[in-house]
């Protein structure tokens, strides 16, 4: 694979001359280039499946409230409108202020080939600033302020970038930044699930029934394993400063495997990070290629994941 940054081809040079594209390193074919300053670009709330009558009571309890994404101006109580990296607006995924609640936005595609698929994004994560109404300063995770580390940083749980792919075999490639554990202690490391995500069909078949705040990607904390070592990101001391992080994640759909994850200046080799497939076959999912991002709070404080822009490219 040619390193896009050093590729002398006309295509590469044209991409690097475009300010919107030059911040990315796409593979040969760009499938998706979403700048959220111009809309939601098909990123929408994930919802569990429901019956033929449209009866939403049949949606799994843990998949019925992943919250609508917001076009956010990153507007805060202290400085007003912070704005995004590519303009005024970013895509915000927000939790409720309930420990264990998860917000999820998904982008739905299919595959026209097999090979490398690369997800790139500029993103950041924040907790909700404290107020009299939300009482964040007295919720679990809040600690002393030392004018450097802000208590709200310990109130951010995790964000996840992930896929849902089916080529006959269904599987999820998943990478999660675990900022804190369930006791709100800083972990600041990347983790992956060792089990496939529980599905509505497994619930329908009586195999699994999860509560509303279950971790839908992998419910058991012990089923998440770290890879690559700790990484401190730039929360930047308070909940109202927005610093954008570059994320580049490569998977290979010809081998159903992870390849690598780059987060700012750190590149993690993910080739040995396993991708657990479903043992059972799923219909209606021919060439499924979904990407989702999620944010999960571990305390009764809203957590936010902001995406400035996303670029998905492939080598097919």
């Amino acid at each position: 694979m040619t390193d896009p940054a050093s590729d002398p081809s006309l295509v590469a040079q044209l991409r690097r001359a475009d300010p919107a594209l030059s911040r990315f390193n796409p593979l040969d074919r760009i499938l998706v280039h979403d700048e959220f300053n111009t809309g939601t670009h098909g990123w929408i709330e994930l919802l569990g499946n429901y019956d033929g009558h449209g009866n939403l009571d049949t949606v799994d309890d843990h998949m019925r409230d992943f919250r609508p994404p917001q076009l956010s101006s990153c507007n805060f109580f202290d400085v007003g409108t912070h704005g995004a990296m590519s303009g005024t607006y970013a895509l915000k995924v927000a939790t409720r202020p309930v420990a264990g609640h998860t917000g999820v936005a998904i982008r739905r595609l299919t595959m026209a080939g097999r090979g490398r698929v690369q997800f790139e994004a500029y993103l950041t994560f924040k907790t909700e600033a404290a107020s009299e109404e939300n009482q964040a300063a007295s919720k679990a995770g809040a600690g002393e302020w030392d004018a450097n580390l802000h208590p709200s940083e310990q109130q951010f749980g995790a964000f996840t970038i992930a896929t849902d792919i089916c080529d006959g075999v269904r599987y999820h490639c998943v990478a999660r930044y675990l900022n804190t554990d369930l006791e709100n202690r800083l972990r600041r490391e990347w983790v992956y699930p060792t089990v496939p995500e529980p599905t509505p069909r497994e619930h329908f078949e009586g195999k699994v029934k999860l509560p509303p705040t279950a971790d839908f990607t992998a419910p058991e904390p012990d089923d998440w394993k770290p890879f690559g070592g700790p990484q401190e990101l730039c929360y930047n001391e308070v909940p109202t400063k927005v610093n954008w992080h570059y994320v580049r994640w490569v998977i290979d759909t010809s081998t159903r495997s992870n390849i690598e994850l780059q987060v700012n200046d750190t590149v993690y080799d993910m080739r040995d990070v396993p991708v657990p497939p479903y043992e059972e076959e799923y219909g209606s999912l021919g060439n499924l290629l979904n990407f989702y991002v999620s944010v999960r709070t571990h305390t009764d404080v809203r957590n936010f994941l902001y995406l400035d822009s996303v670029l998905i490219s492939v080598d097919w």
């Binding site: 111009t38 809309g39 939601t40 709330e45 919802l47 939403l56 009571d57 949606v59 019925r64 409230d65 919250r67 609508p68 917001q70 076009l71 956010s72 101006s73 507007n75 805060f76 109580f77 007003g80 409108t81 005024t88 607006y89 915000k92 927000a94 409720r96 909700e128 600033a129 107020s131 109404e133 939300n134």
Partner: protein
């Protein structure tokens, strides 16, 4: 082409007593229209009252409009001059303040 987005702020959710929808950012929108679809009511003389609220920061809220009743199965109204954030604050109560609930869909339809 104008941008638009319909947010489902509450989906198939049973409300009882006081409630507030989650803060929602709308600074990009020039138009906002609420739809409250009531799927089911329990209790006697169940009444749902809501007030549209605005905020400078998503943390501190005040009323934009007077309180209104949501009496029909599908009720709609428009909000204007709302700034950067919108939510609904309200209550579902029965006759004489008795226990009651309403299962609702709350949509916020936005357009640039």
């Amino acid at each position: 082409m104008r941008e638009s987005f319909t947010a489902v702020l509450e989906r198939n959710r049973t409300l009882a007593g006081g409630f507030a929808t989650e803060p929602y950012e709308v600074a990009w929108a020039a138009e906002a229209r609420w739809f409250v679809r009531t799927l089911e009511r329990t209790g006697t003389g169940t009444l749902m009252r809501v007030t549209t609220q605005v905020s400078p920061d998503g943390l501190h809220w005040c009323d934009l409009d007077p309180e209104r009743e949501v009496a029909g199965d599908l009720v709609t109204w428009e909000s204007s001059g709302f700034g950067g954030w919108l939510r609904l604050k309200g209550a579902v109560e029965g006759e004489d303040g008795g226990e009651a609930s309403a299962k609702v869909m709350i949509y916020l339809a936005l357009k640039s």
